[in-house]
Amino acid sequence: MTAITKSFPGVRALDGVSFEVASGEVHALVGENGAGKSTLMKILAGAYVADGGTIEIDGQRATIDGPKAAERLGIGMIYQEFNLVPDLGVIENIVLGIEPTRGLFLDPKTATARATAVLAELGITLPLDRPARRLSVAEQQLTEIAKALVRHARLIVMDEPTAALTDRETDALFALIAKLKAQGVAFVYISHRLEELPRIADRITVIRDGRAIETRATDAMPQDEMIRLMVGRALEAHFPDLPPVASDAVVRLAVRDLRAASNVNGVSFEVRAGEIVGLAGLVGAGRTEIVRAIAGADVATGGEIAVDGHPLAARSPHAAIEAGIAFITEDRKAQGLVLGMTVRENTTLAHLAAYSRGPFISRAAEVGVTNAEIAELQIRTPSSEQIVRNLSGGNQQKVVLAKWLTGEARVFLFDEPTRGVDVGAKAEIYALMLQLLARGAGIVMVSSELPEVLGMSHRVLVVRDGQIAAEFARADATPAKVIAVAAGVAA
């Protein structure tokens, strides 16, 4: 791949990335969340089409304009979330979409023969008739690999393949990769687990901010060097100064031994009035799950949550809101907004009783508070009656904020508050967080942008495997330290 670029509205996700994979090589891609690894991978898979740059396969210029084209070119993708049909068996999944037929009818004999031939070549056995939903994670992964090989894949891209595997399963996977390497299959290997790379990768490319920063042989890339390259930039200067937390500030939010089935395994921390606590960690570490459990969006199975010393009575979004918790969700389109409703209707949705007389909504009260918020947050909208779908991302995010500012919340949970918004709107959102602090609110912020967590938190908690693996005061928190803990290199 040479000089690949890809832009999304407002973001340049890839900015001239070039890299190459030789046959029989395992080439690892590493980088922070959002560095551009997945985008690159999706371009290889044909899920996105690159805006610029060229892709050559075996020296031939290639166009990948769809998943079928990628398949024809011998590229096999194994996503972190597998693409198996849950109710089909192993064989049916392996030949899915390329089922051998005899006339009009399926030919199960040939299908079985082809699938078993590949599995035999790999030297693995799988329960062939079992539906995919009842396979273990490792078995599903092997099915995916067999699926790629039956399509004659010569380049296999794997995204976080060991994330859900046990140590023994990981060993087996690495042995299998070594075997396929010997047959000339090339691998692109994406992983956050830096410590496993020396065992498996031949070369490593570090991606940062949509650029390939450096490619080296694995031997020439020690771990601390890798982390330094991943972090790269100095903290950007556009973060406002955080006022210090008063030494006698009350504890706004206290979480003790919180547990939830969603990957929250005993989390305890406190947030004081006027304090921002940042949750850092890798995607899938459990950061979002922690704030969701606090907000009642997921059901907590154990532990205590208290606001201003009062334990929450029930575990529901309603109980959390009543207690004074506002949850600004990560995905505003799916969870934060009713896109087909107006700015006014979205703004008042969480506190509609305050704008009603008995069961009847007071339109005037709604318009009043909405116009006040539009002015306060400088939401760019023609009027309070505009449908939210028609606003830009930053303004949609402000409508979400407006919804929570109209209430009496004292604890604000921000999950990725600035994702997909432009620089100007970002600065406005930071300024708003400072205003909330001045009002005495306590804030928990989850962000995948490390500079943001470090720049906008009084304390940084590093989350790993649904637990808090380390805590850093603002002064001690450096990108290298945080990444090292998040990736499991240091404790």
Binding site: Q335, V338, G340
Partner: protein, 358 residues
């Protein structure tokens, strides 16, 4: 407004507010102009249609008697459509309403005959019993939907079969004649007779008054109350509604209860019309009510919808049926035309949305 033009965001809040008010005023004015234009076009088209139809039917369409007839005929479907609108806004569907007409009709007739009451008291008590049965059935429809996330298509389909079977079982397969004549007023007589007589009109059928009350009350519930707003929000984005603290399960349950209650009201009016509770009336009316809602422009995907629009959907279907009857079009052809009109209405609505999509 870029930061450069606007160095001190805090200080011009008043300007922004003033600008907003002005812009909101402009938007309102434009909206009302567009609204007036649309209404104007609709009125002209409607008048033209009536003239054409009236000529074709030799003047039989535009008579007080016939128009009253149309209104009376759509009563049942319009009331069903009101409840169905709430369900469909939450992206659900209620297939049980036709059978609930049968079941509540039989139950009410048997109750009325056994109660020993008479006069207006009989009508009121019997209606309450019927509505309770309908609401109870709605509750049974809703519980598996909100508790286990089962598709409403299935739970209301099951209720459709059970309610129909139960109606036949209770009535032993034959209509249950009402002993009392207390329901006759609702079934056949006119209100406001004295008021409208000088105009040469017979008055407004009681059943039509009941229908209009139901439409108005639930139009207010949907557009002016918190409950109505929650119904729309849940249909638009259930997860966002849940995270805003809305009790999604409770609201959705009420939606099916309302639909069941509306079916019971329709069942009561049908029973009054025919002086008997019949296990045979109402078959297929669940699909008629869905058609009225869809013709009214409510999306089956949920999130949008209007009770008044559904009423006009039912009215349009009723007028079509009536005109085709007056024109002596045979019933098979009527079905073909009705189906085509439904398809045309939803296609036109979709195209309109795409053209005006902003």
């Amino acid at each position: 407004m870029s930061p450069a033009e606007d160095p001190t965001p805090g200080e011009n809040v008043h300007e922004v507010k003033a600008a907003l008010v002005a812009r909101a005023g402009d938007a309102q004015a434009q909206k009302s102009r567009q609204g007036a234009l649309r209404t104007g076009i609709a009125v002209v088209a409607f008048v033209a249609l009536i003239v054409v139809v009236n000529v074709l039917t030799n003047g039989n369409f535009f008579t007080a008697g016939n128009l009253t007839n149309v209104l009376r005929q759509i009563t049942y479907n319009a009331i069903l459509a009101v409840g169905q609108t709430f369900v469909i806004i939450t992206a659900g569907i209620d297939l049980s309403v036709g059978s609930l007409i049968q079941l509540t009709g039989v139950v009410m007739a048997q109750f009325a005959n056994a109660s020993g009451l008479d006069g207006p008291l009989l009508v009121i008590v019997t209606t309450i019993v019927g509505v309770l049965v309908g609401c109870g059935a709605g509750l049974v429809n809703a519980l598996p939907v909100v508790r286990l996330n089962l598709p409403p298509f299935i739970t209301t389909l099951a209720m459709m079969l059970m309610a129909r079977g139960l109606a036949f079982k209770l009535a032993h397969g034959v209509p249950v004649p009402l002993k009392s004549s207390a329901f006759d007023a609702l079934g056949t007589q006119y209100a406001l007779h004295d008021l409208l007589a000088p105009l040469g009109l017979p008055g407004i059928p009681w059943a039509v008054l009941v229908m209009l009350s139901v439409v108005i009350v639930f139009a207010i519930v949907l557009t002016r109350t918190r409950f109505g707003r929650y119904v729309l929000a849940i249909g638009g984005n259930e997860e966002a509604a849940r995270l805003a603290g809305i009790n999604v399960r409770l609201v959705k349950t009420f939606v099916y209860v309302i639909s069941g209650g509306c079916a019971a009201l329709a069942g009561m009016l049908l029973m009054a019309r025919f002086s008997s509770g019949s296990p045979n009336t109402g078959v297929g009316s669940e699909l008629q009510s869905i058609a009225a809602v869809v013709v009214g422009g409510t999306s089956l995907m949920g999130g949008r919808g209007s009770v008044v629009a559904s009423f006009f959907g039912a009215l349009l279907i009723g007028v079509l049926n009536n005109v085709m009857n007056l024109l002596n079009i045979e019933s098979y052809t009527q079905d073909i035309v009705l189906g085509a009109v439904i398809l045309l209405a939803v296609t036109a609505e979709e195209i309109r949305k795409r053209v005006f999509a902003r």
